[in-house]
Symmetry: C2
Subunit: 100 residues, 2 copies
């Protein structure tokens, strides 16, 4: 049974460090997250006013996310991100999907 | 020249009304947004703790978003959404995209 989940981290930042946050997310995704079992895809969004970054990562299941969060390498990237701004991580499910 | 943008609305809600927010977003997207010029796709996410909904909509350009925001039918859905929670709408750009 497949129960895909989406891990979202809404990160409020000072505009001066937004690129640092983007860089940490890129490195963490490429070096650690994308190599973990259950990783599907990730998208990183930066607000036009440079005050917020949103990391949206799809995983095969919440168990895969939980296992990743207890991986020391992943936890290190989470700590580095949290040190740069105010983070609001959480698990989400897709409740609507629309395209033309 | 194509300059795609992503409109994101982070909506904090009381768990009791999360389904109402999801329903308004679904109706607005199907009836209005998806028929507007420049609409590409939308994804609606609901947090596992039922406290937050995130509407992520891709558009061909910020001009298309601006034009949509001045459409009375679209503005009405924005008002209905805002009446149900605390909204934080904004324009974003994709700064990272990763998949396995």
């Amino acid at each position: 049974m497949s129960n895909p989940v989406t891990f979202v981290n809404v990160i409020d930042v000072e505009p001066a460090v937004i690129q640092d946050v983007i860089d940490v997310l890129e490195e963490g995704t490429q070096q650690v997250m994308s190599k973990r079992p259950g990783f599907v895809s990730a998208t990183v969004l930066a607000s036009a006013d440079k005050s917020r970054v949103i990391n949206i990562a799809r995983w095969e299941s919440s168990a895969h996310v939980k296992a990743t969060q207890s991986d020391p390498a992943a936890a290190d990237y989470a700590r580095r991100t949290a040190a740069l701004g105010t983070v609001a991580p959480g698990l989400y499910t897709v409740v609507g999907e629309y395209s033309v």
